[in-house]
């Protein structure tokens, strides 16, 4: 589980970044080892992704899927749209987005973990998707100009960011006026004590 509080008591950001990269490198490279959160096809089924979507996605991408919701159940993406996927991981959601926006659309995936970016690029090539690209980057400093995209999606990633206000300011900056976000994230409804907020294992899951 990851804290979703914009806490004043949080782990050191550099330490947290290293821990996240280490954890998600494992999800990319050894997806079958088992994690403290669900992954892969069972997770996709739990989150009610249609089986035909999963079947159309390369197994190498499906096996490293990690998320906490299904942002596409909030509405289909418009054909021709430019979409940004923050924390795109192995590219599972980015591939679904790429199929929805079609050849005239474009999907940009950004992820903190180099191993995930490598895997996402290979997965897109395996799927024959030419309208999706991946790059390394942080949610708090997106590598995009102002007003560059029509839709921002993200799935179980912003909860890993201690400064959520900075992330949502960045999303606002890169969205065109009238653009929308469709997000799945962890939220907590109970009070989280300071010692839990500082527990890096609860952040990284």
């Amino acid at each position: 589980m990851s804290s979703s509080h914009n806490a004043t008591t949080v782990p050191d950001v550099q330490e947290l970044t290293c821990a996240i990269q280490e954890k998600y490198t494992e999800v990319a490279q050894t997806p079958d080892r088992g994690f403290h959160f669900h992954t892969g096809r069972p997770l996709a089924r739990m989150l009610r992704y249609p089986d035909e979507w999963v079947d159309a996605t390369p197994p190498s991408v499906v096996e490293s899927f990690a998320g906490v919701g299904n942002p596409f159940r909030l509405g289909a993406l418009p054909a021709g749209a430019t979409v940004l996927d923050i924390g795109s991981g192995a590219g599972f959601d980015a591939q679904q987005a790429a199929r929805q926006v079609g050849a005239r659309g474009r999907v940009i995936g950004v992820d903190l973990t180099p191993a995930m970016v490598t895997k996402a690029r290979a997965g897109a090539a395996a799927a024959g998707l030419a309208n999706v690209a991946f790059s390394e980057g942080r949610a708090e400093a997106l590598p995009l100009p102002d007003a560059a995209v029509d839709v921002v999606i993200s799935n179980g990633v912003i909860n890993l960011c201690p400064d959520k206000a900075a992330v949502y300011r960045e999303i606002f900056r890169v969205l065109r006026p009238g653009g929308r976000l469709q997000i799945a994230d962890v939220m907590v409804q109970a009070s989280v004590p300071d010692d839990a907020k500082a527990d890096i294992n609860l952040w990284t899951g």
Binding site: G69, A165, Y168
Partner: protein
């Protein structure tokens, strides 16, 4: 949850709409922590005016 959505609104977003709440940690090793803090997977959408 309201604290989180307040951050979204403070960034300038409007028309914030909640979607589904999913007990996404059910059956995972983190289930007990998730129950303690009432953590859920939540979907929502919003618009830049």
């Amino acid at each position: 949850m309201e604290e989180y959505l307040a951050v979204v609104r403070a960034a300038g977003f409007v028309d914030v709409e909640l979607g589904e709440l999913v007990d996404v940690f059910s059956g995972s090793p983190h289930e007990s922590d998730a129950r303690e803090f009432e953590a859920r997977g939540v979907t929502f959408r919003a618009r830049r005016p």
